[in-house]
């Protein structure tokens, strides 16, 4: 990553906040730190393992500074707002917001997930499925299918409440191990940088399609069953809502099929 960005964020955070880079996207860079932005140290307890996420949108040199500032503010605010709204919806799991400085494009979030055993990587859905796709593992382990069903439920809850994710890849689904049951994983949706409030079936259909493609491209041998489990979980949310839910579900799944067909056509031409 460009030294400029590191210098910029280090200057902003000061030397009191040590940071470790964990991800660099087109839009934002993500760091972890063990320093809380405002809670006094002795109040957090001396759990030295505690980590926080800092998501920083660096200024873009190619944009006019005023436009850049307002875009950064707008996007940081939009992501914060969506996370705040989703936090209040029952059973939806997203990271908690610790702080948001929209003027500098910086959001602090609760750190979710853990390192998977045997160096299988960070516990997002992609690594989790890979772990179970390895030789000697059972790709259709009930734990896997249950987790995928829960992933579907999270997406279902999101859509039922008229929110769309906008970039629903298997890396943007982080699995958090249940403290009471190590074989149970609760999916959390992260990265609402492209999220929106939307009641449009098209947006929701596209969300489902993006997730389906993500599973297909990295776990192709098992994708059919995996995607089925996701759709079952997704549907269960709508089926819980009676007549109105069923109607919306049918509409949505029809659109999903349309989006899929369009995608297939495009790939045949392209």
């Amino acid at each position: 990553m460009s030294q400029k960005i590191v210098d910029k964020v280090s200057e902003y955070l000061t030397s009191n906040i040590p940071i470790k880079l964990i991800s660099q996207g087109a839009e934002a860079v993500v760091f972890t730190t063990n320093v809380h932005p405002y809670l006094p140290k002795d109040q957090i307890g001396d759990d030295s393992d505690v980590q926080y996420i800092i998501k920083y949108r660096p200024p873009k040199e190619y944009r006019h500074p005023d436009i850049d500032k307002s875009l950064t503010k707008h996007r940081t605010l939009s992501e914060t707002r969506i996370l705040a709204k989703l936090y209040q919806i029952k059973d939806i799991h997203v990271p908690k917001i610790i702080a948001s400085d929209v003027f500098n494009g910086c959001i602090w979030l609760e750190f979710l997930g853990e390192e998977l055993p045997n160096n299988a990587g960070f516990s997002n859905l992609k690594h989790f499925l890979w772990m179970y796709n390895k030789d000697g593992a059972n790709a259709y382990d009930p734990i896997v299918l249950r987790t995928l069903y829960e992933v579907g439920r999270q997406v279902g809850l999101l859509h039922w409440n008229d929110y769309c994710h906008g970039d629903l890849t298997t890396s943007n689904i982080v699995l958090v191990r249940d403290i009471h049951n190590e074989n149970s994983w609760q999916p959390h949706l992260i990265d609402f940088g492209l999220g929106s409030i939307s009641s449009m079936v098209e947006d929701k259909g596209v969300d489902l399609y993006v997730l389906e493609r993500a599973i297909l491209s990295t776990h192709s041998a098992y994708a059919e069953r995996y995607n089925k489990a996701i759709i079952e979980g997704f549907s269960s949310v709508y089926k819980n809502e009676g007549e109105a839910g069923l109607k919306k579900l049918n509409e949505l799944l029809n659109r999903f099929e349309e989006v899929r067909l369009r995608g297939r056509k495009r790939s045949m031409i392209g």
Partner: protein, 174 residues
């Protein structure tokens, strides 16, 4: 008293005291404009997290944006509020005539600490400013109304409740 410096804002020291059984809230109220403190009614403070999130907001606004009120201490009351109406913020979060439990907050530049302490002003019992001591004084119903929390939002824990307030504090007026 809890005395702390936020890592991103090393130029400022933040002092917070909590008092129970306050007897002179009426007197304090009359001179509140001249005193270099923010006097907050403890019934609207759930957690340290809520208060310090507001302090963080004050210091980011001060450093990168602008203050909406005349002093850093009135800004603290505004920062606690989910709306940008200053009068409303004072009425809801500031010391009231009959306030018996008070959170006294002070933000000072390092090196400019005043000699006056909250103890010289407040007649009451000082207890440590921590979550346990706030537990018995906050009023969930009032807070739900102030922060306009939906009835469907029923967090299982005080921390869960506190988080919704932190969210509102980050987003006020933006």
């Amino acid at each position: 008293m809890v005395s702390t410096i936020l890592p991103q804002f090393p130029k400022f020291q933040v002092n917070v005291s909590l008092f129970h059984d306050v007897q002179n809230s009426e007197d304090i109220r009359l001179q509140v404009a001249e005193l270099p403190f923010a006097f907050v009614d403890a019934s609207v403070i759930v957690s340290q997290e809520q208060l310090f999130a507001a302090v963080y907001r004050v210091l980011t606004d001060l450093t990168y944006n602008k203050l909406r009120t005349k002093t850093i201490h009135s800004e603290c009351l505004l920062a606690l509020s989910p709306t940008s109406n200053i009068g409303e913020a004072f009425n809801r979060f500031g010391i009231q005539q009959g306030s018996t439990d008070l959170v006294v907050l002070q933000i000072v530049e390092v090196g400019q600490e005043s000699t006056e302490s909250a103890n010289d002003i407040v007649k009451g019992t000082e207890v440590e400013f921590n979550n346990d001591n706030l537990l018995h004084t906050y009023n969930e119903q009032t807070l739900r109304k102030i922060y306009k929390l939906d009835n469907s939002f029923q967090p299982k824990t005080t921390e869960g409740f506190s988080q919704a307030l932190v969210n509102a504090i980050q987003l006020r007026g933006l």
